[in-house]
């Protein structure tokens, strides 16, 4: 699933044509460079979140607000693994255009006792019948809806300080009692 495009290919297709643009001769014109496939990624971890029933606040100024308390869970990847501490949550907002915005904050505790603050913003949307099935807590193939997040991390633990310095993306799967997020580090 990972896209692996060599940096050299990127240089050829994207950077070199843009050199001409950036020199200023075409400054007032649109860049004519072809957009390239620049993104490579690698698995960071899979996060499994266990959640309590949502607190449905109803219609608020920006949409419909639901708050989902996080009760626990776990995470595992090549470089870290551990448990999710209870106490975080996901402050969901269903927008008038049908897109569900996610705003999650949780604390991870690694198996060597480091604490990591993780948060993400994300979006979830799909065909009405698929979203309705999710609302009935049915299992749905995650390929049938779009559920993507942008996790970021904070930690003071030296061995996990790399988390403070990366951009990452998550692919989510809603489950009846929580969610599973497959998170990739953008290289």
């Amino acid at each position: 699933m990972d896209r692996t495009v060599g940096r050299r290919d990127v240089l050829k297709t994207v950077v070199l044509p843009l050199v001409a643009v950036a020199t200023g001769a075409f400054r007032d014109r649109f860049p004519v460079a072809k957009t390239g496939e620049t993104m490579t990624s690698r698995p960071l971890m899979t996060v499994r979140i266990a959640a309590a029933p949502a607190q449905k606040l109803g219609a608020v100024p920006h949409g419909f607000r639901s708050i989902v308390p996080v009760t626990g869970g776990d995470f595992e990847g090549p470089r870290l693994r551990g448990r999710i501490l209870p106490g975080g949550g996901d402050w969901l907002l269903l927008r008038p255009d049908g897109v569900l915005e996610l705003d999650l904050r949780i604390t991870l505790k690694t198996d060597d006792q480091a604490l990591i603050y993780m948060r993400f913003q994300g979006i979830r949307h799909g065909p009405p019948e698929v979203i309705a099935a999710l609302g009935r807590a049915e299992s749905v193939d995650p390929a049938k809806y779009y559920f993507r997040t942008l996790p970021s991390f904070e930690t003071s633990a030296e061995n996990y300080a790399f988390l403070n310095r990366i951009i990452s993306v998550g692919s989510g799967e809603a489950q009846p009692d929580g969610a599973v997020h497959r998170i990739y580090e953008i290289l």
Binding site: M1, G24, F30, P31, I123, S152, I166, I167, V169
Partner: protein, 149 residues
């Protein structure tokens, strides 16, 4: 993770406003004077008036917090915000600081742009997650933005 090209965005910046040491690090604000963007589904100009509110953290990571307005060639306005990070070996960052051209593969410069628009033909931008790879040029950054599929 799979993605596809969304656009290449070139931004021109004015000389930065150096605010110096603030509670979270060293704050530098780079006003945006213009630019342009082009991709398979949209193209146009960057309106003057946005900026990147950069913060150099104590761990050497530069946090980027960009806000700007895009205007497409068919007259739609798109609000773009982007959070990102930039870091690398100290000699590479020093060269960037001196305004030299540096191979972007020598440092990590990645951002996560978000979009808002009321234009129905660009409403797909309201519904996607995107990531970008940046290339800091003396005139300003160039971002290769990809839609996360």
């Amino acid at each position: 993770m799979t993605s596809r090209p969304l656009m290449t965005l070139q931004v021109f910046v004015a000389p930065p406003e150096r605010l110096g040491a603030v509670p979270h690090g060293t704050r530098v604000i780079a006003p945006i004077t213009g630019g342009s963007f082009e991709g398979p589904r949209l193209r146009g100009k960057v309106r003057p008036g946005g900026a990147d509110w950069t913060l150099l953290r104590s761990d050497g990571v530069l946090e980027l917090d960009l806000r700007l307005t895009l205007e497409t060639d068919d007259g739609a306005l798109i609000y773009l915000t982007s959070f990102g990070v930039r870091h690398g070996p100290s000699e590479v960052l020093a060269a960037l600081g001196r305004g030299e051209s540096v191979d972007p593969s020598k440092y990590y410069f990645r951002t996560a742009p978000r979009f808002e628009t009321s234009a129905s033909q660009y409403a797909f931008l309201n519904r996607l997650i995107a990531i970008s790879s940046g290339d800091r040029r003396p005139s300003g950054p160039i971002y290769s933005i990809e839609e996360v599929l």
